[in-house]
Symmetry: C2
Subunit: 474 residues, 2 copies
């Protein structure tokens, strides 16, 4: 196989010199053969940013099949000071898989075995390339499911690395709460296992949580022990339209405060509802709307649905229609999951840029309201969807990428949205992670001393800065 590196696009800043990278590629090619790829198309596909961030392709992509192979790659890169970037499905949203300094992309998608399922313990062990849908297919017959559901059918290694969550987080938590332990290859090539399979432990530093959300900057995850949930005996769900965004948010706050164990509570603004109606052939009232779901026994989901109806009615929520019929629920939630795709026809030819923030629940209505006003005043098209039970919401900004003014406006809008969140005690990202896109806000969010502590940890575990450099830390 050829081991010559094609020139990377001019957008790539400060690549490492070609010499070391070539040596790494040469040293790996004997072992990996055709599983080491250097074609431009495949390299660029592995730096797909789904945003305006420029594609910064790695110098090579290695398709690993075991922890030992990850070690092999990391050790070769460490010897030559070459960057290593982990890749799962490439669905991250903030440029997490870009290779601004070049280097070797470690594609774990072939590490896709479910290694074990322990129904009695409600956990399983998987390789990092297993996707969430693949895992749930695997688990169905055991009556179990893994509840974390970001929009994409992402890999579980990637979901852990970006601390992903999704529609079920209000009830089941995020990746932070559902990774019991993980195995990772560190920058020095050593393999660590962060915890035992026990449901809790007080034995030392919580390295599990340190690696969850580290976006591959501290090591590469090569297996995960995940907490599972039983498929609920009964599920009820429905939609409820509100006169205003604020009324919908207030209904959410009261729902959470009442301790109603809602499994999902999603806000769609009237723009998003219109888009979903068109895309998914629904006939919802084009108003701010909550999609709600309850999990439990027949009796308890009935009770929960009734209570939610009462709460919704207090805020003018019109006739909450709920159903336990799977086909109706599936249709609604499929529409919710397709929200991103539904946005695209709103502005033909535009790219849909999803961004997210998360604020304390008490500020949710303010933050969404101000964001909507901003959208109107700036003359943008940016539907809002949100996992509002957590105070987390997204805008899907439609941008004509060929119009520099449109791009600049979108950047300005997202920047204003993040600053608004921070000013309200919120965070720059609830679930998409930092990558390259949100690095610029880390100083404002955390302050210098906290960032220095993060840098010290990064430096301690990766003194050469070879693990996914240029991400998270400014």
């Amino acid at each position: 196989m050829e081991t010559t590196v094609e020139a990377r696009p001019a957008t790539q800043a400060a690549p490492v010199p070609a010499g070391p990278v070539q040596e790494v590629i040469a040293s790996l090619s004997a072992h990996f053969g055709e599983r080491l790829a250097i074609g431009r198309a495949i390299r660029e596909q592995h730096a797909n940013t789904i945003t305006w961030l420029a594609n910064e392709a790695p110098d090579a992509v290695v398709f690993v099949e075991s922890t030992e192979e990850v070690q092999l790659v990391v050790r070769a890169c460490a010897r030559h000071g070459v960057p290593v970037i982990a890749f799962g499905t490439g669905t991250s949203l903030e440029g997490q898989i870009n290779a601004p300094q070049g280097g070797i992309c470690v594609d774990v998608s072939r590490m896709n075995r479910v290694l074990s399922v322990h129904p009695e313990d409600l956990d399983c062990v998987v390789e990092p390339g297993v996707t969430r849908k693949q895992l749930n297919e695997h688990l169905r017959d055991a009556g179990l499911f893994f509840p974390i559901d970001p929009g994409a059918d992402a890999s579980l290694g990637g979901m852990a690395s970006t601390r992903a969550s999704g529609t079920n987080a209000v009830r089941y938590g995020t990746m932070k709460d559902n990774v019991i332990a993980l195995t990772a290859v560190l920058a020095n090539g050593e393999v660590i296992t962060t915890a035992r399979r026990a449901r809790k432990s007080a034995a030392g530093y919580d390295l599990t949580r340190l690696f969850v959300g580290a976006e591959g900057t501290l090591g590469i995850i090569t297996s995960l022990t995940l907490r599972l949930a039983g498929i609920p005996e009964a599920i009820s769900g429905g939609v409820c339209a509100f006169p205003t965004i604020r009324a919908a948010c207030d209904a959410v706050i009261l729902t959470i405060q009442s301790g109603l164990p809602v499994a999902r509570i999603e806000l769609l603004d009237e723009v998003q509802v219109r888009a979903c109606n068109a895309y998914s052939k629904l006939d919802l009232a084009e108003q701010p709307t909550l999609f709600v779901e309850f999990h439990g026994t027949e009796a308890s989901v009935y009770e929960q649905s009734e209570r939610f109806s009462e709460i919704a009615a207090e805020y003018g929520g019109g006739g909450f229609r709920w159903t336990t019929r799977p086909e109706e629920r599936t249709r609604l939630w499929q529409a919710r999951h397709d929200a991103y795709w539904a946005c695209l026809p709103l502005k033909p030819g535009a790219k849909a840029l999803a961004t997210d923030v998360c604020v304390p629940l008490s500020r949710l209505a303010d933050c969404v309201d101000e964001t909507k006003r901003d959208i109107e005043e700036m003359g943008m098209l940016a539907p809002i969807v949100g996992h509002v039970g957590d105070g987390n919401f997204h805008t899907v900004t439609l941008v004509d990428m060929n119009d520099p003014q449109d791009v600049a406006k979108a950047k300005d809008f997202i920047s204003r949205m993040v600053k608004r969140s921070l000013a309200m005690g919120g965070t720059a990202t609830g679930e998409h992670g930092v990558g390259q896109g949100k690095r610029g806000y880390m100083e404002a969010e955390h302050g210098g001393a906290t960032l220095d502590a993060m840098r010290a940890i990064k430096q301690a575990l990766d003194p050469q800065n070879i693990m996914n450099p240029g991400k998270i830390l400014p």
Copy 2:
């Protein structure tokens, strides 16, 4: 005030030279006046280990009242390379507050203000010296509570530092799950705040979780943002006796697996039941017994209780009696909380040494069974109580501290119990932490590479090793 340091007991290994400590004390005494104590009694009281670990007193105790004062102490200690040990209520169980190298104890018990409560966000901000009971008193009128309840009325800073949990963890999680953010003073005297008040975030390394469970070895916590829960509308609870430990454990497994959202499910073996009967004037059958509690609406706790009855009956659980009457429930749970004290009369003059392990749920019955057999074969007195919904259980070993053979036997027993847990995929401690007592098991639990990663983090944040040295890491 006097600034002479009394000689520390001979048990203290490798104290720092008196010179630097004297200089620190001298430099602090001007600011702290009578809030800096050097009397032997007060120093020894601040190294109370509640175990066979020797009392290793600090050289001085400083009663701090603010984050700035903690900074003052840490900076003085850092200048002279003198250890700093944080102290809340002194109820940790593995020697976490001992000062094996001497140094300054930072007593945060006067930092006991509830700084803010946000009912809409279900969170609050507290100083580290606030105790869990104090917080719950404060919250009661708002209809909220903080669910983490270790046996002692511990400080919330200490509970975070040891990653404490308790009887409610099966439903509400541990400190890991209920600290949203914290402020800490690092070894370099800088103050960091680990996160915003949003319910979730994907913005950088999870320093919150890194400090939870770090036992003051990475910094001193000076405030905590805690997640709260609404006081349930209805609570039902009851007790159920089983023919064997295994039957009780099997009922627990099925309860968890069924997704029954039990709030508490506690196992007491027949020895512990006998002790509680005597101490708390109960008339329970002296058999392995589960104490169970459900939280929810009137209808849902009724349904949950009925379902649990059915599960218990499958395993020979005799007539689960449940009640929603507060006074009956309180009497039962008070007895459960007094379990430690109830053990003492079983062996007059003995000390009760509590230790805990945590295994995957599927191994719980095996682990408890083997542990009980060990207790019998070794001729020990060691009642068993456990937060069995998490696979976590405790033995309270009664030891005549004046009988070296009895002490040796107890040490051997606990060592065997920890090794048994590790062999079953469990952890050396589910909720008590490592301190000095469980350091010796960290290599077996984590392996060398993982420990090295922990050491690298410790070294990065505390290069002089002044923050609670001699804890956690072997």
